[in-house]
C-alpha cells in the first residue's frame, strides 16, 4: 500500500497544523459566547503578538518573548475590553462588529507605519531547529514543540473553565447571564478576564508562528477567517467542538493538498458549507438560549 503513505502523512500533518487555528479559535469562541462580541480584531492581537516576539527576542530571547508577549497583549486586551468592548455587550451586534473591524484595520496600519509592509526577518532559534523522522514521515522539531505548548495551553484553559469557580461563573454566564446577575454576581470582571485570556492565547499563537511564517502587517487577517470557520464548524459553546473542528479543518486541507492542491484553502469553506447544511449549530454546538 505505498500509495496510501503520502495521503496518511498529509492527514497526520493536517492534524498537527490544525493546532495553529485552535488557539485563535478558542479565544474567539469564548469572547463571542460570553460577551456576544464578534471580535474581528482577534487576528490583530495575533499579529501584535508576533511583532512583539520579534522585538522582544532580541533582548530577552525567544523563551522570554514566549512568556512576555502574550502577557503584554493580555494587558492591551484589558484596556480594549474596559474602554471599548464593554460599551457594546448589550448593543446591536453590528456595532461591536464595526468597532472590532475598525480596530483590526487601525492595528494593521499602525504595524505598517511602525515596521513597514515588508515581512521582517525572524527565524527559529538555532537550538530548536531540526527534524523528526517517523518512518517516511518527516516533521519539524520546532512544530512538535509548538504542538506541545498548544496542548498545555488548551488543557490549562479546559481545567480553568470546568474545574474552577471562575469557570463555573463563566459557563453560567454564557447560558444565562440574567440568572447570574440575579444571584448577585457581576459578569464584568469575568468578561475582562475572558478577553485577556482570549487575546493572550492569540498572541501566544502569534509568537509560535512568527519563526515559520512571514511576519507582516496583514498576517492577522490571513488567519482570522480560518479561525472563524473553525468556530462555526465546531459549534458555539462547545470547547471540544472547537478542538475537533481545528483538527478536521487541518485534515481537510491536507487531503485537498494531496488530491487537488489549488483547492487547499477553498476546501475548508466547502467543509463549512456542508457542516452548516447538515448541522446548523455546528458539529457540537450547544443550544444557547440568548443566541436562538
Amino acid at each position: 500500500m505505498p500509495d496510501l503513505i503520502p495521503l496518511l502523512s498529509q492527514i497526520l500533518n493536517g492534524l498537527l497544523a490544525g493546532s495553529y487555528y485552535l488557539m485563535i479559535a478558542l479565544g474567539l469562541s469564548m469572547i463571542f459566547s460570553l460577551g456576544g462580541i464578534v471580535n474581528l480584531a482577534h487576528g490583530a492581537f495575533y499579529a501584535i503578538g508576533a511583532y512583539l516576539a520579534v522585538t522582544l527576542a532580541e533582548r530577552i530571547g525567544f523563551g522570554g518573548a514566549l512568556v512576555a508577549s502574550p502577557l503584554i497583549v493580555a494587558l492591551i486586551g484589558m484596556v480594549v475590553e474596559r474602554y471599548l468592548l464593554r460599551r457594546f455587550y448589550n448593543a446591536d451586534p453590528i456595532l461591536g462588529l464595526l468597532l472590532t473591524f475598525g480596530l483590526a484595520m487601525v492595528t494593521e496600519q499602525t504595524l505598517r507605519i511602525l515596521y513597514g509592509a515588508a515581512p521582517i526577518p525572524f527565524s527559529i532559534p538555532q537550538e530548536l531547529r531540526g527534524q523528526v523522522f517517523l518512518g517516511d514521515f518527516v516533521y519539524s522539531r520546532y512544530r512538535l514543540i509548538t504542538l506541545g505548548i498548544t496542548a498545555v495551553a488548551v488543557l490549562g484553559l479546559w481545567i480553568l473553565l470546568t474545574k474552577t469557580a471562575f469557570g463555573k461563573v463563566v459557563r453560567a454566564g454564557v447560558q444565562n447571564p440574567d440568572m447570574v446577575g440575579a444571584l448577585g454576581i457581576s459578569l464584568k470582571p469575568y468578561m475582562t478576564a475572558v478577553v485577556m485570556i482570549g487575546v493572550g492565547l492569540a498572541a501566544l499563537a502569534g509568537v509560535l508562528i512568527a519563526p515559520i511564517a512571514g511576519v507582516h502587517p496583514a498576517m492577522g487577517q490571513e488567519i482570522i477567517t480560518f479561525a472563524f470557520v473553525v468556530v462555526v464548524i465546531g459549534g458555539l459553546g462547545s470547547f471540544w467542538g472547537v478542538v475537533a473542528a481545528a483538527a478536521i479543518v487541518g485534515m481537510t486541507r491536507g487531503v485537498a493538498a494531496h488530491f487537488y492542491p489549488a483547492a487547499t484553502e477553498a476546501s475548508v469553506y466547502l467543509l463549512m458549507v456542508l457542516v452548516l447544511l447538515t448541522r446548523p449549530r455546528g458539529l457540537f454546538g450547544e443550544r444557547i438560549q440568548k443566541f436562538e
Partner: protein
C-alpha cells in the same frame, strides 16, 4: 438585561464573511495639488500578499518625483505625483479610470499583479494614456493581451526564466534532471508555469509535477511533504509576494536539501525570511549590489529618504518615473501618442545598469540586462541585506539584449489600432 434579539449564532457566520472582507478594502488616493503641474499617476497593491512590494514601489516613485522636481521639474513645470492603490483588478480598473478622467494624469505608472495590469491596460488603451507596467511579469501582457499604450519596464516571464535558466544549465540542473514546481494560482503563476515548462522541456528537463498554490496560503507543510516524496533534482518556484517568504522559512524548517531555484523573485521577500532561511538561485531585474554609479546613487538616495535598502521593485518604479520625465522632455509633449511613438522609435534610457535599455517596438518590452543571484552560505552573511552573490549581467556584454526576451514563436503581440 437580555441581549438584543437580533444577536444570534447566525451573526457569527455572517461575521466570517466580514473577516474575509478585512483584506479587500483599499485606501483613498493621496494627491498634492499643484497648479499647472504635470500630473503622473501611480497605482499599485498596498495590501495583501503583494503589499510589501507595493510599499517599495510607492516609495521609489516618490523619491524619483522629488529628485525630478529638485532638478527643476520637467520643462520647467513641476511634476505632481498622485498615489493610489489597487487591491484587486476591479479596483485597479476603476481607480485608473478615475485618475485619468478626474485627475487628468498624462501617464500612469505601477502595478505588480498581472491580473490588475490587464484590467488597467484596457482603460489606458480606451483613454489613450501612457501606462508603464513596473511589476507585472506575465508574457500574455506582452503577447495576446498587448496594448499600444502599455509599456513594460518590468521584465517578462520569459526573460526571468532564461536569465536564471543559464545558471541552472551551468550547474547541471536541467538536462535529464527531474524538476518539481510550485505555482502561484493566478494569472502570473499560470503564465510563468507555461514559460518555464517550455524552457525546461527545450533543454531536456523532465517535469516531475506541479502544485498550484492559493495566494493566501501561509502553511506550506503539505507541499513540502509532497516535494520530499517526489525526490526531485531541483525545486522550481513560480510563487509571488509573501508566498516566497513563507516557503523559504518552511523549506529550511523541514530541512529539505533539494536545490531550489525560482523563476520569479523579489529581494525583499528573501530579506524578510531571516538569517539561514534563504537558499537557491533566483532571477532579478536589479539588485542593490550592482556596481554602477547610477545604482550606487539610487541606493544612497533611497536609504537617505526611507531609511532602508531599496529592492528590485523599487528600481522599476524609480526608473519608469525617470523614463517618462525624460520622454516628455525629449518630445516636448505630454501627448500620450507622441510619447508612445518616441518609445517605439527606440529611445534609449539609463536603467542604472552597465548598458542602456530601450522598449522593443514590437511588444513594448524593455530590453535590458538581468541578473541571477545565488544565496550565500549562512557563515558568509555579514548583514541582513548582503545575503547573495550575483551573476554578471545576462545577456553578456557581447550579446544582443534581445536574446533572453520571448521570440515571436513563443509570444506574439499584434497591436490593434
Amino acid at each position: 438585561m437580555p441581549l438584543d434579539k437580533s444577536l444570534s449564532r447566525r451573526t457569527l457566520i455572517k461575521a466570517s464573511a466580514g473577516a474575509a472582507a478585512l483584506g479587500t478594502l483599499g485606501a483613498p488616493a493621496i494627491s498634492y495639488a499643484q497648479a499647472d503641474a504635470i500630473k503622473i499617476g501611480h497605482i499599485t497593491p498596498r495590501t495583501g500578499f503583494l503589499g510589501p512590494l507595493g510599499e517599495y514601489a510607492a516609495q521609489a516613485a516618490q523619491l524619483a518625483a522629488e529628485e525630478i522636481n529638485a532638478a527643476g521639474g520637467i520643462m520647467g513645470r513641476r511634476l505632481e505625483l498622485i498615489l493610489d492603490d489597487s487591491p484587486n483588478p476591479q479596483q485597479a480598473s476603476a481607480k485608473a479610470e478615475r485618475l485619468v478622467q478626474r485627475d487628468k494624469i498624462v501617464a500612469l505608472l505601477g502595478e505588480i499583479s498581472s491580473a490588475s495590469a490587464l484590467a488597467i491596460a484596457q482603460v489606458v488603451q480606451r483613454e489613450k494614456v501612457l501606462f508603464i507596467n513596473t511589476g507585472a511579469n506575465s508574457d500574455a501582457l506582452r503577447g495576446s493581451d498587448c496594448q499600444r499604450f502599455m509599456f513594460h519596464i518590468e521584465a517578462q516571464n520569459s526573460m526571468y526564466v532564461k536569465a536564471v535558466g543559464r545558471s541552472l544549465i551551468r550547474d547541471g540542473l536541467v538536462s535529464g534532471k527531474k524538476w518539481y514546481s510550485l505555482t502561484a494560482d493566478y494569472a502570473f503563476g499560470h503564465d510563468l508555469l507555461n514559460v518555464a515548462k517550455r524552457y525546461m522541456a527545450a533543454n531536456g528537463g523532465n517535469h516531475a509535477g506541479d502544485d498550484l498554490i492559493p495566494t493566501d496560503l501561509a502553511d506550506f507543510s503539505p507541499f513540502l511533504l509532497k516535494i520530499r516524496q517526489a525526490r526531485p533534482d531541483v525545486v522550481c518556484l513560480n510563487l509571488a509576494g509573501t508566498q516566497i517568504t513563507n516557503f523559504l522559512k518552511q523549506y529550511a524548517e523541514f530541512g529539505l536539501t533539494f536545490p531550489v531555484a525560482g523563476f520569479g523573485f523579489d529581494t525583499a521577500l528573501a530579506w524578510g525570511a531571516g538569517r539561514g532561511n534563504f537558499g537557491g538561485t533566483w532571477p532579478v531585474v536589479w539588485h542593490h549590489l550592482i556596481d554602477t554609479p547610477g545604482s550606487k546613487a539610487f541606493v544612497a538616495g533611497f536609504q537617505r529618504k526611507w531609511n532602508r535598502m531599496p529592492e528590485n521593485q523599487a528600481w522599476g518604479d524609480y526608473c519608469s518615473m525617470k523614463v517618462v520625465a525624460q520622454a516628455i522632455a525629449e518630445t516636448k509633449s505630454t501627448d500620450g501618442m507622441k510619447i508612445v511613438e518616441h518609445f517605439e522609435k527606440g529611445a534609449k534610457f539609463d536603467l542604472l545598469k552597465t548598458r542602456e535599455g530601450y522598449f522593443r517596438a514590437k511588444d513594448h518590452q524593455m530590453m535590458m540586462e538581468m541578473y541571477a543571484i545565488t544565496a550565500l552560505p549562512a557563515a558568509q552573511i555579514r548583514n541582513q541585506y548582503d545575503i547573495y552573490t550575483s551573476s554578471p549581467p545576462v545577456p553578456a556584454a557581447n550579446e544582443s539584449l534581445e536574446v533572453i526576451a520571448a521570440t515571436d514563436d513563443e509570444n506574439k503581440c499584434t497591436f490593434r489600432a
